[in-house]
């Protein structure tokens, strides 16, 4: 989890560029190393079936799909819920919803997956539901904290000048909460990439399936490739999220 690596606002362009480029360069080198390692090995038929471009791309794509779709859904649901729960009229239900979201995150991910599989069967969509439930809290909590930390006097000034409640929400509260909400989304994304490797146990495929097969069939090369790719993917997505955080943060904050 790297959500806390806050990037300092560096005025020097070159330092900034270096920071942006360091991670992709490192990940590129890791990919190269992995490729060279696999090329140097003599592969048997089982290994060849897993370690060919189309299989790897398919499984990696599946993992991205799982993490991407679940994150998209959870962002929409959790940000909306977060907004609703910070309105004065929902004050009474807020603790209950937070409690529910807490359960989602407190239960170990594999247990949560099993529970959802038992209720809704195996496959892609139950996996998505489980991922959403698992990462819901991090976005919900950050949305609420982000909205609550907006200075009351800023909101009062906005209302005092005749902005409607809706205008205050969209023009003042949400923009000012963006950095904290984005940090929550980044956390959720990382959680989902990690957890998405486990959904193989409920038959949703992905790189996790490769890892699982490699362990069962005792194929070290496949295991190293699949877990290496998972790690590279997770780091790459985290890097993308950090760049997005930098770009989307409102100026002046």
């Amino acid at each position: 989890m790297t959500s806390q690596t806050k990037i300092s606002t560096d005025p020097q362009g070159t330092a900034r560029l270096l920071r942006y480029l360091a991670m992709p360069i490192f990940l590129g080198l890791a990919c190269l190393a992995l490729y060279l390692y696999v090329s140097s090995q003599k592969l048997d038929s089982i290994e060849q079936r897993s370690l060919n471009p189309s299989a790897i791309i398919e499984q990696t794509g599946r993992l991205i799909e799982l993490a991407g779709i679940s994150t998209l859904i959870v962002v929409v649901l959790a940000v909306t819920t977060g907004i609703l729960l910070t309105r004065p009229y929902t004050r009474r239900v807020t603790p209950f919803v937070i409690g529910l979201a807490n359960i989602g995150q407190a239960v170990p991910s594999i247990g949560l997956l099993a529970l959802f599989a038992l209720t809704w069967g195996f496959g892609f969509w139950p996996a998505i539901v489980a991922l959403v439930a698992y990462s819901f809290l991090s976005i919900l909590r950050n949305t609420m904290v982000g909205l609550q930390q907006v200075d009351r006097s800023t909101i009062e000034a906005a209302r005092g000048m005749g902005m409607t409640k809706l205008a205050v929400l969209f023009r003042i509260e949400l923009p000012l909460a963006v950095p904290i909400i984005l940090a929550g989304i980044r956390t959720a994304l990382i959680i989902n990439v990690g957890t998405a490797t486990l959904v193989t146990f409920i038959g949703a495929g992905g790189l996790g399936e490769m890892i699982n097969n490699a362990i069962r069939l005792d194929r070290t090369v496949v295991l190293i490739t699949a877990s290496g790719l998972t790690a590279i993917l997770a780091l790459f997505i985290d890097w993308l999220a950090s760049v997005a955080e930098d770009i989307l943060r409102p100026r002046g904050l």
């Binding site: 009062e156 000034a157 005092g160």
Partner: protein, 402 residues
């Protein structure tokens, strides 16, 4: 008093804001926060609501733009009953400045100022022109347009807050302790600036503070409020200081009411004493001559730009070996003509000879005041005040004696 004319005219001006039997009971509270308040605020005057904390002054102010909805009673703005109109639209007609300023940190200074004009649907060019005009009015360089609030000092932010409130040229401004969170020196300067500005723009201003000295300085009229916004006294600062309505008002003003009165007049209002002056380039004999003919023990020497330079006494001049530029003592205890009598007196007490030199805004010599001249002025204030009180009573009688 300098603002005699304006103060007198506000008495006859039309009512801008009328509060009628206004009450506010907050949910789950037995006692009303504001209980049956009625008051009139005239066009172009600064009315200060002042009182101890929790007296309901802020609640009262927030009912005027209905950030707090009154439980009962009515609010009139320029004769129109606005108690039930759309409150968002109402607020766009009323400027609003709060202590914490509340600038939007993610918007540039220009965008902050443009908030209300944008809501009112002004076109871009008009907004841009108005922004430039306002930045000039509040004395902020135009280069700050595209900066963000965090790059500004507290005083600059406060100025932007005022500019933003005036953006759509509302006739009414509500100010809730606008200078409360600013250091005393900057506050004093901002208050002066604001008063100067008000002389040009002549807005109707409702100003909330808990600081009686600020109220005396800023207010054309002051409403001293007790608990539940009950009006203890609603009158001019002079009247409140000289004739407090009851013990509550007297206590609230605190000690030194007569001294505080001195902050209401400026040194311009009093006749400076006749004092001998000479130029630094004059000869020793000429200076001596001037001193003898005036009968005073000291002569003030001015430099080539008429600015006070040195005080010289008889014995300084007799020593002809020192040039006039080094003789005597440097001229300190200088006040500007617009300084209050209070500040002038303060300067005089700490000065060498118990007198203060009055200069204009460019530092040029205007005259000298000493204790005698100030005392004379204080004595002169009394009859002057009585005539004014009589004039006001006449107005009140005509208005139905509220």
């Amino acid at each position: 008093m300098t603002d005699e004319a304006t103060k007198e005219s506000t008495q006859t001006a039309e009512t801008m804001i009328r509060l009628e039997n206004l009450s506010k009971v907050f949910p789950a509270q037995d006692e009303p926060a504001v209980d049956d308040l009625s008051m009139d605020i005239y066009e172009g005057e600064i009315v200060v609501l002042v009182g101890p904390s929790g007296c309901g002054k802020t609640t009262t102010m927030k009912m005027i733009n209905r950030l707090i909805e009154p439980s009962s009673g009515r609010i009139f703005l320029q004769g129109e009953d606005v108690t039930k109109v759309n409150s968002d639209k109402l607020r766009r007609r009323i400027g609003y400045v709060i202590q914490q300023i509340g600038l939007f940190p993610h918007m540039t200074i220009a965008d902050n100022i443009a908030t209300v004009p944008k809501m009112l649907g002004w076109d871009k060019e008009r907004i841009s022109d108005r922004t430039d005009e306002l930045l000039e009015t509040v004395g902020i360089d135009l280069s700050y347009r595209d900066r963000y609030p965090k790059e500004l000092s507290g005083g600059q932010r406060q100025r932007i807050g005022v500019a933003r409130a005036m953006a759509a040229d509302p006739s009414v401004l509500l100010m809730d302790e606008p200078f409360g969170a600013i250091d005393p020196i900057t506050r004093d300067r901002l208050q002066d600036e604001f008063l100067r500005l008000q002389r040009e723009i002549k807005k109707t201003i409702v100003f909330v503070t808990h600081d009686i000295d600020e109220a005396i300085k800023m207010g054309d009229r002051i409403a001293i409020l007790k608990q539940q916004s009950k009006i203890a006294q609603y009158d001019t600062p002079e009247k409140i200081l000289t004739d407090p309505a009851d013990d509550f008002v007297a206590d609230f003003i605190g000690g030194g009411a007569s001294i505080k009165r001195l902050s209401l007049s400026t040194v311009e209002d009093i006749e400076p004493a006749d004092w001998p002056v000479a130029s630094l380039t004059d000869s020793h004999e000429r200076v001596q001559e001037k001193m003898q003919s005036s009968g005073k023990g000291y002569v003030l020497l001015l430099d080539d730009q008429n600015r006070p330079s040195r005080w010289v006494g008889a014995e300084d001049i007799e020593r002809s070996d020192t040039s006039l530029e080094e003789a005597g003592r440097p001229a300190v205890a200088i006040v500007e003509a617009s300084s209050s009598l209070y500040n002038t007196l303060d300067t005089m007490i700490t000065s060498y000879k118990g007198s203060a030199i009055v200069v204009d805004e460019k530092g040029r010599y205007q005259g000298v005041v000493d204790f005698d001249t100030v005392l004379e002025a204080i004595n002169a204030m009394r009859p002057e005040e009585q005539t004014r009180d009589r004039a006001k009573r006449d107005v009140q009688a005509r208005d139905g004696g509220r």
